[in-house]
Amino acid sequence: MKLKDRLVSYSKKRGFSFQTFFFESLKTIMAVLIAYLIAIIIILIVSDKPSESIYWFVVGPFSNMMEFGELIKKAIPLMFAGIAACVIVKANQFNLFTEGAFYVGGLVAALIAIYIKLPAVLAVIAALVGGGLVAAIFGYIPAKLKSSLNVNEFVSSIMLNFIVLWIGVYLISNVVIDDASGDTATQIIPEVSKLKILFSGTNISYGLLIVVGIVILVKIFFSKTLPGYEIKMTGDNENFAKYSGINVQRRVVMAQTLGIFIAGVGGATEILSNYHRFNWKTLPGYGFDGFMVTIIAKNKPLFVPLAALFIGYLRAGADLMAFNSDVAQEVVAIIQGVIILLIASERFFSSSFFKRLLDNYKERRDAQRMDVMKNE
């Protein structure tokens, strides 16, 4: 078989339509371009040295290995949050406890690392899994309330976020505080439990491998296992799932708990990679970020890392811009908002929008040809 034929047959097998893919990509690219255009206009207005600002914003993250590493480092928690949100959204749920899960996961991982003495690899695994599990136990609450009492999981999970935050702050400022830190923080996380640097000269930790592993597992989960398949069916069309004998309630709870677990592991990874003690006094904000990432990724697991890298790139660029010039890094929030609004919209730049554009163009072209022919 020729390569091209193989590609075609493979893409067919994967339900891949070049046209759809083309239009969807075009839509994403358009959204990104529009958002960047807006950003650049804003920079032109507010910056005294706009060219320098734009340079740092756009090129900065690629200027050297360490800065590129920063991009990746920023993308790792976004990947975690994104893949966690992806699992939850697959079941058509909006459990925002992914936010609280990052906090809980990080705190519990730190505590396990500090207070349970384990040999090397086991120490890391125990901290990661423990962080994920405790987060999942909390995350189960809004999920179960949704499935059995129809309590809006969005609202209840946000309330729960605040609750775990304050419990956590209480713990680190009273119970597990290390006086010697001078801060409200836990003791120092022992080196054995920490995630080491993966590429020297950067700050990229082994967390990258973990999250890539999880993304692949999630992909396999949804495409190769029964629960994954059933969650997807439930999210796509609850009626269909119900009539086919799928236990819709159970799948809804499972998806949320699983997503929250992943977010918990994400929090654990973040703490074990980039912190020496756990000392968070506010929620980290990754919960909402995750939903943003998965929207941009069209809720496809394998696109989540790409979307996270993109947001990581935006933020790393904004960071460098703020560091080296006079533009506030918050300009990225505007870009992010615009991108989500455009990408998530069904009407704006939809396939049919492009088709219509194409048809109009063809019509006009044909009409022109007719005119030309007539004139001849």
Binding site: L149, Y170, F291, A333
Partner: protein
């Protein structure tokens, strides 16, 4: 403070409750009218934030709190339009639009303040004066609480509750908004555009959220601060859910939230209570979740009885 009795007999405790309940009332009324039109509007949080800043900026620009409030209202309506345009015209999922607007708002306010002042956290406003009503303020206790220490926006919040109930029941538009939420198809079938009705509801919701924002930066505080909304928009959504869409019940929960919040703050100073403040801070959220659960149980029971 010495005892619980001191707490409950202090006028200021009640004033604090009202102060903490007011933004929740505005937010919950915004959630309520959106929900009546059949829309879950989580952009209230972001709308409040932007409006709070806009209010602060314009209050100093015109040296007038009232102008600040007006511009906050306008900002809220514009944010409401952004939400409506995305959900109704572009057919984007409501929750996603809400998330996007909230993310946008959080960055936008910092960006604007930074561009205007060079700092990233706060912006002074010209605050509202408290209103002291002669004669009424002399009524024992009640006078001190209600007629001596509140400002225009607090009274406006009370008016909004009554007006909302009145509006939904007694005006043509109100009835249509409720109708759209119940069955948009039925409304379309008699030749009334449900999309237009939804748009109006969302603009009103935006305006209300705008007032809630203005209350934070002009009414309660005399400056805008990037962290000042602190989830109050979401609490508004919760209050609406607990209030089952009835304005007075919703407002009641907003007040309950204010009470629990005020209590959690006050309890820090009560002698003999040595609950750490961090744990006291979880109280309002606990109460909210419990409220949600109780409401859900009642609703489930009622549904069961109907079958």
């Amino acid at each position: 403070m010495n005892s619980f009795w001191d707490l409950f007999s202090s006028v200021n405790f009640y004033v604090t409750i009202i102060a903490l309940a007011t933004p929740i009332i505005f937010a919950s009324m915004a959630a309520l009218i959106s929900n009546k039109a059949g829309i879950v509007n989580i952009s209230i949080e972001g709308t409040m934030l932007v409006s709070a800043l806009v209010g602060a900026i314009f209050s100093t620009l015109f040296s007038s709190a009232i102008m600040g409030i007006l511009f906050a209202l306008v900002a809220g309506v514009l944010m409401g339009y952004l939400f409506a345009f995305s959900t109704i015209k572009l057919k984007t999922n409501e929750i996603l639009v809400g998330i996007a607007i909230n993310i946008l708002a959080a960055g936008l306010v910092v960006f604007i303040i930074y561009a205007l002042t060079g700092n990233k956290s706060d912006y002074s406003s010209v605050p509202l004066k408290t209103i002291s009503i002669p004669l009424l303020r002399d009524i024992p206790i009640i006078g001190k609480i209600f007629f001596d220490s509140l400002n225009l926006l607090v009274y406006l919040a009370i008016v909004v509750i009554i007006a909302m109930s009145f509006f939904l029941k007694k005006t043509v538009l109100g009835v249509r908004i409720r109708s759209v939420g119940m069955n948009a198809k039925a409304v379309d079938s008699i030749g009334v555009s449900s999309e237009k009705v939804k748009l109006i509801a969302l603009l009103i919701a935006g305006g209300l959220a705008g007032l809630g924002g203005a209350y934070m930066s002009i009414g309660f505080m005399s400056s805008f601060n990037t962290g000042m909304i602190a989830g109050r928009g979401f609490i508004g959504l919760a209050a609406e859910a607990i209030g089952a869409g009835i304005p007075y019940v919703t407002a009641l929960f907003a007040v309950v939230f204010g009470l629990v919040n005020a209590f959690s703050l006050t309890a820090q100073t009560i002698t003999g209570i040595n609950i750490p403040y961090e744990l006291l801070n979880t109280l309002p959220y606990f109460v909210t979740i419990i409220g949600l659960v109780i409401f859900a149980v009642i609703k489930k029971r009622r549904n069961k009885n109907n079958i």
